[in-house]
């Protein structure tokens, strides 16, 4: 059965797409115009593009990564990481203590994410309301938006048997009487292969790449791929345009630039990159909030060797989670942690484990008996958990993320919970992924060893696939850059619609929170912009129309 590639077919049908690697500029920089320009095509950008296009507005989407589709997804890490991830999946905090996964291709992180779809926890929403003056985002107010996106993206509870990696998480919870939930996933006709993280080869994952972005393009929107937004031109309370720079096949900057002009601009480059673009452009930030309070759900890992085969590479990567420990001590109390499992593929496991030589080779030889649990720590609520801070650094940026005492307390508790769970599920040996502990042979032994183990940056493996915050929302301008609709407090025609607006982390995987909130905010924006909308036929053609030197701030 041949797999239909909606991107390939759409391009053949005449979608307006401009590839920065192929773009031929002229002497004078040219400009493109639309009602709305959206920077970034991930969870936030994709949803906004579809909603605004459907409201009859002309839309230009900009993505610094390439346009790749199922025919490029060969289920190999060596292809996927450089093609689809920020910094070839080797992004790290400044001190190198935390490895960060973030997508960078059309569809953003949704092209490579693991499809777990969870509504924003009620505790998180309540905390935002009381601590950050966020309004209109109660669980009740969000419910219709979550319903809308769950139906749009075919989000439903995974109806098949979990793979054994997840199955052991469930078994451990059952044995111990711990809470667990069968995960809802955004998939349609999933083949249960386990390669979500390398781009879905069969287009079952309802990522932005195969849902909202094709819908927007089919309705006349324009997509610029391999174009990076580099500068927001602004004056007083208005944005005048955004410069985008073409990138070549290797994503190195090319000299070609375009000026994008619109009635309204939406930043959706994701946490880290949206604040970086705003800082680089010198946007008003009197309280110095940009890039601060960047959250990661910093995650620790526990391996377990089972006698039976686990084959953690095969099957839906995430289908069970446990919230037993997320809210145990209240939102602002000790940092809670969510228990999940990751997909198990060779590069991921080889690099996120410990040691080298014989000991590592032995671990890898047990590859198919290996079960891995991860604990995602809920950062940003406790007073000593302020997250990381992004700052400009010459041409690029850096993210400093101090791992503070409350994080290490949570990590220690998490290592214990994971070991207890893995032994309860029948593990023969458990290996906390932190230097100096080694294999543990019983829960008894593990309990003592973990209470005593030393935990430290660069000794304990810490990873993140959930980047959030850095451009907080809320009605209190001393704490927020944008209001509860994502509208800038300082620039009247600028909104932020991505994970960077979260004032804390979520305590749940982020994608559905972004989908729901952006659906709400983009619908409100469409209501503001659409009545005066120009007729769609004035939407820009793929060939940019030269209109002289772009207007800049006076």
């Amino acid at each position: 059965m041949a797999i239909v590639d909606p991107i390939y077919e759409g391009l053949a049908s005449g979608w307006k797409h401009l590839d920065g690697a192929l773009y031929q500029g002229s002497d004078k920089p040219q400009s493109l115009e639309a009602d709305v320009v959206i920077i970034g095509t991930g969870a936030g950008g994709g949803v906004a593009a579809e909603i605004l296009t459907q409201a009859g507005l002309s839309v230009i989407m900009v993505e610094k990564g390439p346009l790749r589709s199922s025919r490029d997804f060969d289920m190999e890490e060596r292809t996927a990481y450089p093609n689809l991830y920020q910094q070839a999946a080797a992004m790290k905090t400044a001190d190198k203590a935390i490895g960060i996964f973030q997508g960078r291709a059309v569809g953003g992180s949704t092209t490579v994410n693991w499809t777990t779809s969870i509504r924003t926890p009620a505790d998180t929403l309540a905390y935002w309301q009381s601590e950050f003056a966020v309004k209109g985002l109660s669980a009740d107010e969000l419910e219709p938006w979550f319903e809308q996106m769950e139906s749009r993206l075919n989000i439903s509870q995974w109806a098949f048997e979990p793979n054994r990696n997840n199955g052991m998480l469930r078994r451990g919870c059952e044995q111990l009487g711990w809470d667990y939930t069968v995960i809802k996933r955004n998939v349609l006709g999933c083949w249960n292969t386990g390669y979500c993280g390398m781009g879905c080869p069969v287009n079952a994952k309802q990522s932005m790449l195969v849902t909202t972005i094709p819908a927007a393009l089919s309705a006349g929107a324009t997509l610029l791929s391999r174009f990076e937004a580099t500068q927001i031109e602004h004056h007083a309370d208005k944005v005048f345009g955004i410069w985008v720079q073409a990138r070549d096949q290797n994503l190195a900057p090319r000299p070609e630039k375009l000026m994008l002009k619109a009635r309204h601009y939406i930043l959706a480059g994701g946490a880290i990159h949206t604040p970086v673009l705003m800082m680089r452009s010198g946007l008003t930030d009197p309280m110095q909030l940009l890039g601060k309070r960047t959250f990661l759900h910093p995650t620790v890992l526990s391996g377990a060797v089972f006698d039976e085969a686990i084959n953690g590479h095969s099957g839906a990567p995430q289908s069970i989670y446990s919230d037993q420990f997320v809210w145990r001590d209240g939102a602002a109390g000790e940092l809670g942690y969510k228990l999940e499992v990751p997909p198990i593929h060779p590069v991921l496991i080889a690099s996120k484990t410990l040691g080298f030589g014989k000991s590592h080779a032995e671990l890898m030889a047990n590859f198919n008996q290996l079960q891995v649990v991860i604990a995602l720590v809920r950062d940003g609520f406790h007073p000593e958990s302020q997250g990381g801070s992004v700052s400009l650094d010459g041409k690029g940026f850096k993210l400093d993320y101090p791992l503070t005492a409350p994080f290490w307390r949570a990590a220690r508790a998490a290592f214990a919970s994971m070991a207890e769970l893995q032994f309860a599920a029948g593990a023969r040996r458990v290996l906390p992924i932190s230097e100096g502990v080694g294999y543990l042979n019983s829960w008894q032994e593990a309990k003592a060893a973990i209470a005593d183990m030393s935990l430290a940056p660069l000794k304990t493996v810490v990873a993140s696939a959930h980047v959030m915050g850095g451009c907080p929302m809320g009605e209190d301008t001393t704490k927020a850059m944008v209001d509860s609709f994502g509208q800038s407090h300082y620039l009247e025609n600028l909104s932020v619609m991505d994970g960077s607006v979260f004032p804390t982390s979520l305590g749940a995987n982020p994608q559905l929170s972004i989908y729901g909130m952006v659906a709400k905010n983009a619908t409100a924006l469409a209501g503001r912009l659409a009545p005066q909308s120009k007729p769609p036929e004035t939407a820009p053609e793929t060939d940019p129309v030269a209109d002289g030197v772009p207007e800049t701030a006076a």
Binding site: A2, K96, F356
Partner: protein, 170 residues
Amino acid sequence: MNRRKFLLTALGGTAALALGVSLYQPQLDVEDDGDKPHRILFSLLMPVLLEGALPEMAVPREAAVNRTLDAIEATISVLPTSQRDELEQLLDLLENRLGLLLLTGNMTPLLLRSPAELASQLESWRQSGLALLNQAYLGLRELVLASFYSCPEHWTLLNYAKPELPGIKS
């Protein structure tokens, strides 16, 4: 100023000291291997980092080493500039030190230095309390292990293979 000298100077005190390189060491030319930089260095480290994973038999071992050297090059080539520069600095420093020892004849030529000695060097960086040494260890470890396991040729060890899906490129 040649690139290697520049990098050494630019790195300044901390990095050089932490890596055990005296700032006053004379600059020495290390064989550069033309378009295949750092291959000697990696072919020294690889048997150590991949002990137990590389085949024992000469012919398949050589194939695996060469395959991994190519994969390392490919991995480095896709890193963003800032990370690549950092890594190059580390590799340059290592080569400089290896070159020095090799050429001054203070020790057994490094090319013949025992894997056990290299292993204990890596192990001491791994255990060190200095972030810079930990970073050097982790950087080399991740680069070599990830590159080795990124090659389908090396997956038989793991009994891992990607599924064959009808109509999908393999």
